[in-house]
Amino acid sequence: MESKEIKFKLNGKIVRTEVKPYDKLLEVLRDKLGVKSPKYGCGRGECGACSVLLDGKTVRSCLIYAVEVDGHEIVSLEGLQANGLTELQKSFLKHNSFQCGFCAPGMVIQVTELLRENPHPDEEEIREYISGNLCRCTGYNPIVDAVLDVIKNK
C-alpha cells in the first residue's frame, strides 16, 4: 500500500512525514515523530490515554488515521508545556494527583480544553469532562481537587 506524505503543525512546528493510509495518528506520533506522551490504553477511544488536541479540541489519537491530520494542527502534552509547566500541571504536581502516571498526559490535555472553553467550571462539569479518561489508581478525587484548586486561584 502506498505511503503518502503528510504535513501538519505539531507542537508549534511544521512536520512532514510519510505514512501509510492505515497508520494511526497515535502510532505515527509515538513511533515516527518521537512524541511519547500520548499512550496506548485501549485502541477504541474508551480510555482517553492517547488524547491530543486537534485544532484545539481533544481527540483520541487511536481513532484517527494520520492521513486525516494533513494540514491540521496537533498539540500534545509536549507542546502545552513548551514554555514551562502550566498552572494546571503545577496544581496536579502539588496535589500528587497521579500515581502510576499513565493517564496523566491525556488527563492534562482533556482538562486544558475544558478550562479554555470554560475557565470556571463547577465540580460536576469537571467530572463530566474527564469521565472519558480512565484512571485506575487515584479514585479521581485528587485529580478533581487539583483542577478546582487551579480554578480557585484564577
Partner: protein, 292 residues
C-alpha cells in the same frame, strides 16, 4: 492489520464518483469513531476509504426555509455548543450530551451516528420524535423520514452509491417540551441499555421513541395515539406503559437482560413523558439534566 486506499474528497460529486466505482468495497469516513473500531475489529474490511471531511458544504448547523439543517460533518460537540440548538431543539443538546465522552464527541458526527445504525444509537430516538428526515444524494436526491431510514442492526436503506448530506428537522411553531433519557450501566460513558425520547406539543400531540430495545430505534405509535389530546397525569402514565412496550422487542445481551430492559423502558418512559410535559408547562427540569 487491514490495508486500504485513502481518498480525501473535496466535493460530494467526487465522493459519489468514487462510491459508484467502488461500491461496497468503499466506506465513507467522517469522524471515524465508529468506523475505525469496526475496521480494527475486522467487522468491515473496506479496500477504499473516502474521507469527506474536506467537503465544506456538509458542515454546519443552519435554519433553511422551515427546517433546521445539520450537515453530515457536524459533530456532537458542535451541536452541544450551538446556540441555535439550545434555542430551537434543546432536546438535541440533551441527547448529544449522552453520547460517549467529550474526546469522542469532538470527532463523532450526528450523521455518522445514524449511519452506524446500531440499535443503541443515542441520537435516533430524539430525531424520531422531532420527525427529522435524512437528506440523501446518489443517482437521485432523496429525503427520507428518519423512521424509514433504519432497516436492522447496522443496516440502513442507504444504497452503496449514496451518501447522507445532512439531517433536516422541521421547525416547530407550537410550544413543546421534549426529553431524552438514557440508562446505562453507570453514570460514566456507556452504550444505552435503554434510551427513550419523548415530545409533547401544546395541542397535546405526543411522540415517543426508544433505542436499544429493538433491532432498530422505534416509535411507539399506539402509545402516542392513546395519549393524544390528553393532559398527562399519573394514571395516564400507568396506562400508557403497556401500550408503549408493545412497540419494542428487547433482547438479552452482555449489557442487560430482556426483562430488565422491559422493566426500565416503562420506568424511563414515565420519567421522560413527565419531564417533557413539565417542560411544556414551563416547570420541568432544565435541559441537559440527567434523569437517571
Amino acid at each position: 492489520m487491514k490495508t486500504f486506499e485513502y481518498f480525501k474528497v473535496a466535493s460530494v460529486d467526487e465522493a459519489l464518483r468514487l462510491l459508484s466505482m467502488y461500491g461496497n468495497k468503499a466506506k465513507i469516513l467522517a469522524g471515524g469513531t465508529d468506523l475505525v473500531v469496526m475496521i480494527d475489529d475486522e467487522m468491515v474490511a473496506p479496500d477504499y476509504i473516502i474521507d469527506i471531511k474536506g467537503i465544506n458544504n456538509l458542515k454546519g448547523i443552519e435554519i433553511r426555509d422551515n427546517y433546521l439543517w445539520i450537515g453530515a460533518l457536524t459533530t456532537f460537540s458542535e451541536i452541544i455548543h450551538a446556540e441555535i440548538i439550545k434555542e430551537k431543539f434543546p432536546v438535541l443538546f440533551e441527547a448529544s450530551k449522552r453520547v460517549a465522552s467529550v474526546g469522542v464527541r469532538n470527532r463523532a458526527t450526528l450523521v455518522g451516528n445514524i449511519c452506524s445504525a446500531v440499535p443503541s444509537l443515542d441520537s435516533a430516538p430524539t430525531l424520531l420524535v422531532l420527525n427529522a428526515s435524512v437528506e440523501i444524494k446518489g443517482k437521485e436526491d432523496k429525503l427520507v423520514p428518519i423512521a424509514d431510514f433504519f432497516k436492522g442492526p447496522r443496516k440502513t436503506i442507504l444504497e452503496k452509491d449514496e451518501i447522507v448530506l445532512g439531517i433536516r428537522i422541521p421547525l416547530e411553531t407550537r410550544k413543546y417540551g421534549a426529553n431524552y433519557i438514557k440508562l446505562g450501566r453507570y453514570e460514566g460513558e456507556d452504550l444505552a441499555q435503554v434510551g427513550v425520547a419523548t415530545f409533547v406539543a401544546e395541542d397535546l400531540e405526543y411522540r415517543i421513541a426508544f433505542c436499544a430495545v429493538a433491532p432498530t430505534p422505534v416509535r411507539a405509535l399506539d402509545a402516542e395515539a392513546f395519549l393524544k389530546g390528553k393532559e398527562l397525569n399519573t394514571n395516564l402514565l400507568d396506562e400508557v406503559v403497556p401500550l408503549a412496550l408493545k412497540a419494542i422487542a428487547p433482547i438479552s445481551d452482555v449489557r442487560a437482560s430482556k426483562e430488565y430492559r422491559l422493566h426500565t423502558s416503562g420506568v424511563l418512559l414515565k420519567r421522560s413523558l413527565k419531564a417533557s410535559f413539565d417542560r411544556l408547562k414551563g416547570n420541568g427540569p432544565s435541559y441537559g439534566i440527567n434523569l437517571v
